[in-house]
């Protein structure tokens, strides 16, 4: 047992339990047997959005926009197929598909079941949609680590994907983007291309960004989303994980932080003392925008596309509301043969076609017929 | 087997009949045909109609039309074979007469297409395609024909201009037909400048959405004699054939071959005891210009890949070797889908009676070919002057 009773109040039956350690680590060591990313081919330049709203300074260069026939679920399907290509496993062995998104096509009806059907994983599996603003994808990953690490399942898949919504004219419109990635978790072996040393989640009730039922666009707390939300959670999660694992920033070859823009993750790196060049390979928001639930999953996929065996990756997500999941990942030998089995993240980023605001509005399904 | 002769024909003009309902169109055509034959009753009624359910929320058309035409307690049914419903109804009526079971049969083809929104009309027509594997994926009939047209042009080296000649010919002939929807000649440029509706099919490559009804009265020569109908009015249904092909265009063995028409034509020629060269005029199913080209090839008027050549050579004109669409065809007369096959029959009969506005001199044998689906259900009927 990793829990201990630290205090017993004599006047009540209330037990306060306190973790002896903060690290999350399953009984079995687990790793990634396959990963896959997907970024839609359409891009809109920030300047084009700015043209419409009279804004001339932008947080990023351009962002990815879904095609008319794409939603978070279809993005999830392609990412899942890519992950499967690298995992080289029978999809029927996947015992859970957990799909994290805040732009699920259905308010009620799982997207995960569609993805499971599309990749041929049905019916002997668990499937569910996760929601935690931008960290729904890593939330699904935490669950997958536990599912496999406990021995309940041989393989589990975690997906983070979004076609993020930004209120027209709001500064989030410049960054709210489309994309996603999928990870298949399995017990650590020569088949895993990277393994988890441990993870850590840091969560408080901080309403910096939300969307009520039936609303089309989220609301946010403007500058309140920064220091008390994004920075506090990411930095505490990162520090907590390193402390628990006895590691320092110097032990990591790469760091991927949630990336609502380019500035925030670079500021985190500066605060933690991580050189910019270790952050850049996984920092894609400047060219694809903020893919919300997909953001760090896509960022890490770009790192795995280039990382060498033995290298260590610090991975910290952030979701409004608010919380962060932090992971320490060590790359293994299998990466060398597996990374070429599916399109790389930059293959998708480089496959781009610019659209204007009119087509953007059409692609986002905003025209009334 | 008895012989079957057409002794009366009737039509309504083809067009947008905003004031007239399906039943009134059908009754008008039917009564015109009965007046033409100078009879006041029939033994049974066959209604050619493709899709009255979605278009006007009316099925049970046999009953509706026989009732409204005052035909009494006769047997009456609707015959459905997509856009070939009219052609199939004529053949069913002829078969009833040939079998000896029915003496005087009425066939009416009717379609009322303008009571729905255009995009719904497009959808309903596509019900005759493969619902699960074509319409589901956004295919319209125009689109399916466009796939064939592009493939045809690519395979045989034709241009959009070449195929436009079929539309031009149809309009030239339609201009003289008082029943035609379009009575205005057009130029190749008119077709080429018209908007694409499913590239490379342009608006003027396609037949229009419209309303109309046509009818024929069929009986045996003995009964015709008994009724005192002058022989000049007799037009014999001397050959018939009908066949299907895959409902799904993609499953076709050869995308550029109307196999169903080949089989149907072969049967019809054999039954009539004639060869393609004996045919004086062809009323073929030019719902799209590409279908005119493929149909000519399938009924033996042209070799494979040479259908469009006939248009280029000017042979499809009234004074050519192979006159087609003598009263405008589907393109200019109009294509009220389930009625089309009966219009073709009426037009061929008028040619053989020598009463057509664009008379083919000394026409003795005519062939009608009516396509349902993307070439998936085809009738070929051979008519001859008695």
């Amino acid at each position: 047992m990793r829990l201990a009773i630290s205090q017993r109040k004599s006047d009540s039956t209330f037990l306060r339990v306190m973790p002896m350690r903060k690290l999350l680590r399953p009984i079995k060591d687990v790793g990634i047997v396959g990963y896959g990313a997907y970024v839609p081919m359409f891009r809109i330049k920030s300047a084009e959005i700015g043209r419409v709203w009279g804004i001339n300074a932008f947080p990023i260069e351009e962002k990815a926009v879904n095609n008319l026939d794409e939603d978070a679920l279809t993005i999830g399907i392609e990412a899942a197929r890519n992950a499967l290509k690298r995992a080289k496993i029978d999809p029927g062995l996947i015992r859970a598909i957990w799909f994290g998104s805040e732009s699920k096509p259905y308010a009620v009806k799982p997207s995960a079941t569609v993805i499971a059907e599309a990749i041929g994983a049905t019916p002997h599996l668990d499937a569910a949609d996760f929601e935690f603003a931008c960290k729904a994808g890593t939330e699904a990953l935490q669950a997958a680590i536990g599912f496999v690490g406990s021995g309940m399942a041989e393989y589990a898949m975690a997906i983070g994907a979004d076609t993020a919504q930004g209120r027209p004219g709001d500064h989030l419109e410049f960054t709210a983007a489309a994309g996603g990635a999928a990870y298949i978790v399995g017990e650590k072996s020569s088949e895993t291309l990277a393994y988890f040393e441990g993870s850590y989640s840091y969560v408080t009730d901080t309403p910096d960004f939300w969307r009520r039922q039936h609303e089309h666009y989220p609301r946010h707390g403007n500058r309140f989303t920064g220091e008390p939300a994004y920075f506090r959670h990411i930095i505490n999660a990162a520090k907590g994980l390193m402390e628990e694992l006895g590691l320092t920033v110097n032990d990591f070859d790469y760091a991927v932080f949630h990336q609502p823009n380019v500035k925030f993750p670079l500021t985190v790196a500066k605060i933690l003392g991580i050189p910019v060049e270790r952050v850049k390979p996984g920092l894609l928001s400047g060219v694809i925008g903020n893919t919300y639930s997909g953001a760090t999953l896509v960022g890490v996929s770009a790192v795995l596309d280039i990382a060498k065996p033995g290298e260590r990756i610090l991975w910290v997500s952030f979701g409004s509301g608010a919380g962060s999941d932090a992971f320490s990942l060590v790359v293994q030998d299998a990466i060398e043969e597996k990374r070429d089995l599916a399109p790389k993240t930059w293959d998708y980023i480089n496959r781009k076609k610019y659209i204007d605001y009119a087509l953007y509005v059409k692609h986002r399904g905003k025209l009334l017929m | 087997m008895e012989r079957a002769v057409i002794i009366g024909v009737g039509m309504t003009p083809v067009g947008e009949h905003w004031k007239t309902s399906l039943r009134d169109l059908a009754v008008e055509a039917l009564l015109n045909a009965m007046d033409d034959a100078n009879i006041d009753g029939v033994d049974s009624l066959y209604v050619g109609n493709m899709i009255s359910g979605p278009f006007v929320e009316q099925e049970n058309l046999g009953t509706l039309i026989a009732d409204w035409a005052g035909l009494g307690h006769i047997p009456a049914v609707k015959v459905e074979a997509a856009c070939a419903s009219g052609g199939a109804a004529v053949q069913e009526g002829a078969k009833a007469v040939m079998s000896g079971l029915e003496d005087v049969v009425a066939v009416v083809g009717v379609e009322k297409m303008t009571d729905v929104w255009p995009s719904d009309a497009t959808r309903y027509l596509a019900y005759a395609a493969d619902a699960e594997w074509e319409l589901f994926h956004g295919a319209s009939f125009v689109a399916l024909n466009a796939l064939v047209m592009r493939h045809y042009m690519h395979t045989y080296g034709y241009t959009e201009e070449d195929l436009a000649l079929f539309a031009v010919n149809a309009h030239i002939n339609g201009a003289k037909n008082p029943y035609a929807m379009f009575k205005k000649p057009i130029k190749v440029e008119t077709v080429l400048k018209s908007p694409y509706i499913a590239d490379p099919v342009k608006l003027f490559d396609a037949s229009p959405v419209c309303d109309g009804a046509a009818a024929v009265i069929i009986t045996t020569p003995e009964k015709a004699k008994e009724l005192g109908i002058p022989k000049e009015k007799w037009v014999e249904i001397s050959g018939m054939g009908r066949a299907i092909d895959t409902i799904n265009l993609a499953n076709r063995k050869d995308l550029l071959r109307l196999k169903a028409a080949e089989v149907a034509a072969e049967k019809a020629y054999r039954m009539a005891g004639i060869a393609p060269e004996d045919v004086d005029l062809f009323e073929i199913h030019d719902a799209f210009t590409i279908m005119a080209a493929l149909s000519l090839e399938a009924v033996g008027a042209a070799e494979r890949g040479k259908g469009a050549e006939l248009a280029k050579e000017g042979q499809i004109a009234i004074d050519g070797d192979c006159p087609i669409q003598t009263m405008g065809g589907l393109k200019a007369r109009g294509h009220p889908v389930g009625a089309t096959g009966v219009y073709q029959t009426v037009e061929a009969a008028l040619q053989l009676r020598g009463e057509a506005p664009n008379q083919v001199p000394d026409a003795e044998v005519a062939l009608t070919q009516n396509i349902g689906g993307t070439g998936s259900n085809i009738t070929v009927t051979i008519l001859r002057r008695v």
Binding site: N67 | S119, H137, G138, A146, L147, H151, T246
Partner: protein
């Protein structure tokens, strides 16, 4: 965009629509898409399911500008006949491609995309489409 039919009608084909499952005749070996109960080559009724690769070549295409109702929002969209590498020809929409980029023989690969939606409260239909391969 049109009232949906009962979902069962669509649901029963999800597998074929999402994953491109066809049939193979056990007798003559012909591969069919969509799946058939009776082989249209040899008449055999002995069929087995076959997973198609989803790779093929465009043999003809059109741009649908006047779509059937229910597809209005998506116009114009390319529709093509694709010869799959296993043999069958399949009708499907092309996606992620501009009309002028489509050519005869263009290589394409299958993706699963949204085919259409039924209003705000209806189901969303997903199915196969094809696009130029990534890379």
């Amino acid at each position: 965009m049109g009232k949906p039919m009962q979902v069962s009608r669509f649901w029963r084909h999800f597998k074929e629509k999402y994953r491109l499952i066809g049939t193979k005749c056990k007798k003559c070996g012909k591969i069919h898409f969509p799946p058939r109960q009776v082989c249209n080559e040899c008449g055999s009724r002995e069929m087995e399911e076959v997973q198609l690769s989803g790779r093929g070549k465009v043999i003809s295409w059109t741009i649908v500008r006047n779509p059937p109702s229910g597809f209005e929002y998506y116009k114009p969209y390319p529709l093509a006949l694709i010869e799959l590498e296993e043999g069958p020809i399949i009708l499907a929409q092309l996606t992620d491609v501009e009309p002028e980029e489509i050519t005869f023989g263009m290589e394409v690969e299958m993706v699963t995309r949204k085919i259409r939606e039924f209003n705000e409260d209806g189901i969303i239909l997903y199915g196969y489409k094809f696009r130029p391969p990534v890379k």
